[in-house]
């Protein structure tokens, strides 16, 4: 019986320690790692769209027959998969053909750096460079709230995105821009969105990334094919 009792006790102890390790591994619970050094060179995104297709907060012809609205958080790893992998695939398959436009919306909920990144993107939009900045953000994701989107690194991303830094600096300091980003998150909640990425085409809403063939079928259906 000693073996059984020891096993039971060890199991409970290991389980409790496991939970503690999980807590300690969470970046929210510890001190955020400061900026990852001053020699940061942003990684270039996989997609550099044609300038005439990257307008306002969208990618694709403004009169495209199908509009796919995507709510993301710039720190969400699955959104990174979306931005770095799925968006380029959709660009090649539908957007360059004039069939699809992707409209981006912010649902920032993973912490302060999500808000900083979204504010930076809004200020890039003011200079008609939203999509460049947006793509650079996804290409430079590193963990959550660990300094990947610190103000210093975001400024470098703004620089390589071709933004006028003086105007961008003024914009990101404007509390009204943060209010806009917070309003976006509130709107997402009111729509029943509980996670990112969330995709919407007409009445269809999907949380997470569907299989490529399923997504293509959904777009083709909306196109009437």
């Amino acid at each position: 019986m000693d073996l059984i009792r020891r096993a039971a006790l060890s199991g409970v102890v290991v389980g409790v320690v496991g939970v503690i390790v999980l807590f300690l591994a969470n970046p929210f619970s510890g001190t955020p790692t400061p900026s990852m050094g001053g020699d940061f060179t942003p990684v270039a995104p996989t997609l550099t769209p044609s300038a005439d297709l990257a307008t306002d907060h969208g990618l694709g012809a403004v009169d495209a027959p199908v509009v796919l609205t995507v709510w993301t958080d710039y720190q969400c790893p699955i959104c990174g998969t979306w931005g770095n992998g799925v968006e380029p695939a959709l660009y090649e398959r539908y957007i360059t053909e004039g069939k699809l436009r992707i409209e981006h919306r912010h649902y920032s909920f993973l912490g302060e750096e999500s808000f900083l990144a979204a504010i930076g993107a809004e200020c890039a939009a003011d200079q008609e460079k939203f999509w460049a900045f947006h793509s650079y953000l996804f290409a430079n994701q590193v963990g959550e709230n660990q300094g990947a989107f610190s103000p210093e690194r975001l400024r470098k991303i703004a620089e390589v995105s071709g933004l006028d830094l003086a105007s961008w600096d003024t914009c990101v300091a404007d509390p009204a821009v943060r209010t806009e980003v917070e309003a976006d998150a509130a709107e997402a909640t009111s729509l029943g969105i509980t996670g990112t990425p969330t995709l919407i085409i007409g009445d269809w809403m999907q949380s997470g990334i569907p299989a490529s063939e399923e997504l293509y079928a959904r777009i083709d259906e909306a196109l009437g094919n």
Partner: protein, 145 residues
Amino acid sequence: MSRAHRISALASAAGVAISSYLLGIRLIDIPAICGPALGPFGGCAKVEASAWSSIGPVPVAAIGVIGSAFLLAATMIHARSQSQRALAAWLFAALAGAAVELGLIAIQALVIEAWCFWCLLYGCTVLVSAVAVVSVARAYEEPTG
């Protein structure tokens, strides 16, 4: 095979399937059956996008696959051998898993403030296996004859 063994084996097999599915959602682009259609339990994307879905580079779902596979193996080995060592391994894994699952459920409720249907269902499979193994272990303590 006793009723407790059958229940634990079924629950653990379901646990392997569910955690494999959750791992597939994370690692490859298989569709996530979740979202608003599941009402208050449709927060899978929020849970999956949270920092609690992995320990360092290791997805929690991967630990779930290994844990449930171990529970299934321990259940089957004990059902056949009735050995104390197999029972000890089963008891250890089930109670450790149950403690972790209770912690994860608390995190969903109190920190993430979103419920993931599949994560909760997986947690239930581990808790069921823990109840089953405790019932088997208690039978060892009861005097026979």
